[in-house]
């Protein structure tokens, strides 16, 4: 049997509620409804799931999806070994067996044929057929499936099928409002409110430029990085340049605009 405790979230992750999402998630979990969280990168999706797993006291198995991932990578496969073959459960199967929350991060990155294997787990059947092994697993009562995706990536090629989408309840995340984001930065890094607010302002500058040369604005995650650097004694200009400007753009005009925003914010 797999060690359940290795998947538990040991300490309370810091999470600041944006609305009533915690209560809604608890209700979804009580009824074992599959959950989809969507929102731009670095806005707190994964943190939220981690927090909920901790709050509910359930193990959490996270799978980062990528385009080379196949169905076997999720459900498991036979491996060759010296004596022949041996079956190894994939993360999804493990979660279904031990009753964990299985979190498929950035599900759109996986190919569509892969995502179909989760279907039987997400409706009333709550089963997972392992056709190669000839086994039908009935999901543990504590098992819940959560997926995340970033609609910003969405293009014609990368979108979830309707038949997949319609199996989930949804939470739409966005970057928190300015005051809340300031509070998050302050709490997460210990930086004072005044400087946190300035960072948030710079973040908003970049978010306004989305679609005008920027694919994504500055995420809360990057703001946290910048705040951490400032807290560590780095000069705000350098910290912002390093954490906020360089990662998101190579466009000289946008860089100049963001650097100006930094200059006028941290005067």
């Amino acid at each position: 049997m797999v060690d359940k405790d290795q998947y538990r979230v040991p300490h309370e992750p810091f999470y600041r509620q944006q609305g009533n999402e915690v209560a809604l998630y608890e209700a979804a979990y009580r009824n074992k409804l599959p959950v989809m969280v969507k929102g731009p990168t670095g806005c707190g999706k994964s943190r939220f799931i981690e927090y909920m797993a901790w709050k509910l006291g359930k193990p959490l198995i996270t799978v980062a999806c990528n385009e080379d991932m196949t169905a076997s990578d999720l459900v498991g496969r036979y491996l060759l070994d010296a004596n022949g073959t041996r079956w190894l459960d994939g993360p999804l199967t493990t979660a279904a067996r031990i009753g964990a929350i299985c979190y498929l991060d950035e599900i759109v990155e996986a190919r569509q044929d892969t995502t179909v294997v989760i279907h039987p787990l997400t409706d009333h059947r709550r089963t997972l057929p392992l056709d190669k092994k000839g086994e039908l697993i009935a999901a543990h009562p504590d098992f819940q499936l959560v997926i995340s995706y970033n609609p910003g990536y969405q293009n014609l090629m990368k979108d979830l099928k309707q038949s997949t989408k319609q199996r989930f309840t949804g939470f739409a995340f966005d970057y928190p409002a300015a005051e809340l984001e300031t509070a998050i930065l302050a709490k997460e890094t210990g930086l004072d409110e005044a400087r946190s607010a300035k960072l948030v302002k710079i973040g908003h500058t970049a978010r306004n430029l989305k679609g005008h040369g920027l694919d994504e604005g500055i995420s809360t995650r990057l703001l946290v990085y910048a705040a951490t650097l400032i807290k560590d004694g780095i000069h705000p200009h350098d910290a912002c340049r390093m954490a906020l400007v360089q990662p998101i753009t190579d466009d000289a005009d946008i860089r100049a605009t963001l650097e100006h925003a930094i200059d006028v914010s941290f005067a």
Partner: protein, 751 residues
Amino acid sequence: MSVRTAEQLTAYRVKLDTRFAEVDGVFAACMAEAMSSLSTRGIDAYLDAARILGKLGRGAAPMLIFLEEWPSVAAIVGEDSLPEVMQQVSKLQRSPNSRAIAPLLQNLAAVARRLPSAEQLNDFLILVQDLTARTTGSIHGHHTTFPSPGLPEFLAQAPRLLNQLSLAGVKNWVDYGIRNYQHHPERQAEYFSLQSADSRAVMQRERHGTLFVDVERQLDLYLRGLWNDTEQLVPYSTAFDELRKPIPYYDKLGIRVPDVQEDAGSIKAIDRYRATLAHIVGHRRFSLPQIADNWSPFQRMAVEFFEDCRIETLLMREYPGLRRIFLGLHPKPIENACDPANTSCLRHRLAMLSRALLDPEHGYTDADLLVFTQRFHAMMAAGESSTREIAGLALSYVTKTRRPSDQLARVHFDNTVIDYRDDNRQLWQFIEPGDEEEAFDEKRKIEPDINITGLLPRHYPEWDYHSQSFRPDWVSVFEALHPSGNAADIDKLLQKNAGTAKQLKRILDLLKPQDKVRIRYQEEGSELDLDVAIRSLIDFKGGAQPDPRINMSHRTAGRDIAVSLVLDLSESLNEKVAGSEQTILQRSQEAVSLLAWAIDQLGDPLAIAGFSSNTRFDVRYQHIKGFGEVWGDEVKARLAAMQAGYSTRMGAAMRHAGHYLGKRKADKKLMLILTDGQPADIDVADPRALIEDARQAVNELDTDGIFTYCISLDAKADEYVSDIFGRHYTVIDRIESLPQKLPALFLSLTR
């Protein structure tokens, strides 16, 4: 005047040795200035030079101008420059350009103010010599040398040019003029007097400072990013309004900003633009228009100053770093610089107050100013305040500080102009005009409508291969819808080529599903992926865990090609094809119809246009089919009416077609040019010029990700076509085969 100086003056007058009576009127004043700024030796040289100028045989004018101007020139660059200037004068005197002596001397002082060293002035004189030598010429068959048409004009414009450009910039500007108008006296004079459009455009290009066009995107991003505001930015020219400098403003058509800004001390030019934009954003956010009618101009001015400070305070609350920029640009009037006894000090008072409201370390001691600064800050401490409330404060300030001298005509302007602020036209609402009863009877002025028959011309640059630079806005391209004919004609042509069409259809069907894409790392797939399989086997033999994903499969991806077909419709198309009754035009028509049909079958977006030109002022670009239009009767009708005439200015047409094609969202962009001869136009004598321009256009398109391909019907095309298109061309010698060749060519290009 003492007896001694009077004697000296007489001696100088004798030394000048001239009988021009006009001299007597100004001599005393000139000598007084000369004696105060020149050494004794300098005065001698001055008088010598003046005497020589008086004896040139060109009347009194050169001497008089020299007498008046030289002392001030010498005061700036030193009196040792005199020999060089006189040398220049004698050169002009000996050439047919003696008419230019007066303008040279006339503008010397103004030039010297911009070039305040002997070396720079010398460089300027060398430039004048160069211009003289290169534009003075003889015409074959005439036994005279003609004076330079541009030289006097240039000398007259020199101060203004140097005001805007560095000496190097002026040199480039002069070079351009000489190169392009050497043999065209009227145009040359127009160019050097800054009257022609390209003369102004080249000057704009050479200006020092930060050009608006270079930072436009950054300013857009600034507005959008920092202020979450979007507005069209419209530059206005600052080069040609000498007396009244335009001020930034905004209205419903956009925000108007200067076309060029220079660094101001520690504040960079881009930050000056940003300050203007921030200020205007402040008005848009926080200001409410006030009814102006009941307030006097002074009251309105005060309200404007207070309101400007209010919004700037609010802006600095949002971005504290703006304070540095605002204060760096805001003048700091010196207290007591204005004497209220004889000058109107209102502007000075308000500028000081404005400074004090923004700058906590203003250091002014005026009691009223301090009181109102405090009241202002108290008002702002409570929140955002409002235009209404701040107007109240401004009015009480005017009442409190009013002086009788405010009405005086002499206004103290020094250090009171805050040039990053707008003219506040949006702050005022005038009720008066139109409110009286008689106004209702007044006839409303109706704007005469402008008769626009086609689209306005688009201007494109043209490549000048001599100087390796662009001639800005050189070519005007007029786009118009091609006239329509009878669509059935095209159907007939297609009928005629039904055999070819059938062949094509077979290829087309093969082409449709194309672009096989391999998907690797599949556990189950259609084929074994050998590379991965071998790697897995090695892992397995080595005792490591083998990767079971050793298969691969395929997927088909769609075509994504946008095609623009540009047809040369010049006169030569009317020639008959050898051994046939058909003209090249008719053959092209057939070929294009067949190609358009084939591309339509494939479903690729296609645009068709024809072009011809009649000098650079009239390049016609005729729209036949747009990307969005279907291959139907309307398009066929236009194709049927195709007509040939005029010349082939290919570069401009390609740039114009490219600007549409560049906007398409397609993986591959293809521009096909169908032409029957080399680029040429009647206003271009040099046969290389337009070839080089077309080559440059191809390079530009290439950087925009557009693939150009030429189909030439000119058997002699090999001489030039590869210069333009590199290897991307086909020459079709047998024009009768064009209808078969063209679609086949397209298919092989996009297969």
